[in-house]
């Protein structure tokens, strides 16, 4: 199986994300932003004074939160997405080395299709969304559980929301600093040289195979 690093030819492109994966990301990102914006308007006094409309915001927040896992669940029908979930799940020895290097701010980091930071983010945000969903349902359907549960759920929901806000801001910050990564998520294709530099251990499957620059420059 060829790795990006094996290629001597520059200027070719690799398929990083299939159409299904890109749409799953797009829909999840949209729902997540709706959740965050409505949460801010419900929670931050300055925004609440500006926007008001509490009932509408609550309904939009509840439904966008409930729908948040749906794009990924539908996306499981895609073989490419399932394979990438497997890659995100599994840590190889170089992933530990990557984390250590990141902590030392060293740039000599080996990574597969996803680096260790992306793998940790994926696992964390998936767990966090499920916890927000569970605690959110306890707060939504107040007769579901006794009051102490609701108090505990509110506590977790509030603080985890803050943590998610910070982590998502970090996710956006990282994307902002890497136009090629953004292009990969927008068009599906990335430059081979970028892949060699950022993801040298990425073992591209046949579908992920390369395409000459001329055809691949579909922006």
């Amino acid at each position: 199986m060829p790795r990006p690093a094996d290629a001597a030819t520059a200027g070719t492109r690799l398929l990083r994300f299939t159409r299904a994966e890109r749409w799953v990301h797009r829909c999840t990102a949209t729902l997540m932003m709706v959740c965050i914006v409505t949460a801010a308007c419900l929670y931050l006094p300055q925004l609440a004074e500006l926007v008001g409309r509490r009932r509408l915001l609550v309904v939009v927040h509840e439904w966008s939160g409930l729908l948040l896992p749906v794009p990924l669940l539908l996306g499981l029908a895609s073989r490419a997405l399932r394979r990438d979930l497997g890659r995100l799940n599994r840590f190889l020895p170089y992933d530990r080395a990557w984390l250590k290097a990141a902590l030392r701010r060293s740039f000599r980091r080996r990574a597969g299709k996803f680096n260790a930071g992306q793998k940790l983010f994926a696992g964390w945000i998936a767990g966090a969304v499920l916890v927000m969903l569970g605690t959110g349902l306890l707060m939504w359907f107040t007769h579901l559980a006794p009051l102490v549960w609701r108090t505990g759920a509110t506590f977790v929901h509030d603080w985890l929301a803050l943590a998610i806000g910070i982590v998502i801001a970090g996710h956006l910050y990282m994307a902002l600093g890497d136009p090629e990564a953004r292009r990969g998520m927008r068009t599906g294709w990335v430059d081979r040289l970028w892949a060699v530099r950022e993801h040298p251990e990425w073992e591209a499957t046949e579908e992920e195979g390369e395409q000459p620059q001329v055809q691949g420059s579909n922006r």
Binding site: E49, F91, F155
Partner: protein, 240 residues
């Protein structure tokens, strides 16, 4: 799934996910205790924090701003009116000065919101609702009071017996200052023994009705008789 990689590696992603679920469950279980502990620390810091950022954190105490409509335009002493009508002998329209000229009562109780937050020992001052009803003269057949607000949407209701309690005020002052616009000023309702959604902000109308008409949140399932600790499935300590 992962059919192309001979070394499969450790499933760290799955462990992180399950770890988050475990932490979440532990947080829900420990939440009631933890939120009080956090509150006792943060409310002290928030009181002294000049930036006000601490007050934005969860469990930092204080009032939250809730409004059911878009931005509410403010009313001043010049254009504020409170009407009293319905099944009464003498319908009336009060200016802010009229209300200020009536006997004022100051009471101090905890404020308890149905969503969980509680603000201890908050002074409210204003005219007893009972006095306004007395002045209007409730007619035969009147058994409840319906409140409307100048935000154009919010409504509330009390039975006549509840409305005549000593701890139900048409409040002009809150925390010993005129009620600010954000807190529902210049005039808001204050129903001390009930969850705070009963204390309608931006009060503009009091109407005596033959039966209780559900208020805004009550149409979405909140209890009409909203006694603190005895309604809405909650067991908070009574406030009055």
């Amino acid at each position: 799934m992962n059919d192309n990689a001979p070394p499969r590696g450790t499933p760290v992603g799955r462990r992180v996910l399950l770890g988050m679920l475990g932490l979440g469950a532990a947080g829900v279980a420990a939440g009631p205790v933890l939120s009080q502990a956090v509150n006792s620390v943060l409310s002290g810091i928030a009181a002294k924090d000049p930036t006000g950022l601490t007050a934005l954190l969860p469990d930092s105490g204080g009032f939250e701003y809730y409004s059911v409509t878009g931005p509410v335009s403010a009313k001043s002493a010049a254009d504020y009116r409170l009407t009293v009508d319905g099944l009464v002998d003498r319908p009336a329209s009060y200016t802010l000065a009229d209300l200020q000229a009536m006997p004022q009562v100051r009471i101090v109780h905890d404020v308890q919101c149905v969503t969980g937050w509680r603000v201890p020992k908050t002074p409210f001052e204003g005219v007893r609702l009972a006095d306004l009803l007395e002045a209007a003269g409730v007619r035969q057949g009147g058994s409840a009071v319906h409140f409307t607000c100048f935000d154009g949407s919010y409504t509330e209701s009390l039975t006549l017996d509840q409305a005549r309690r000593d701890d139900v005020l048409v409040a002009l002052k809150m925390q010993d200052k005129p009620v600010t616009h954000d807190h529902g000023g210049p005039v808001r309702l204050y129903v001390a023994p009930m969850y705070f959604y009963k204390s309608a902000k931006w009060l503009s109308g009091i109407s005596v009705t033959p039966a209780v008409e559900s208020g805004y949140w009550e149409n979405y399932g909140y209890d009409v008789d909203a006694w603190v600790g005895k309604s809405n499935g909650r067991d908070d300590a009574p406030t009055s």
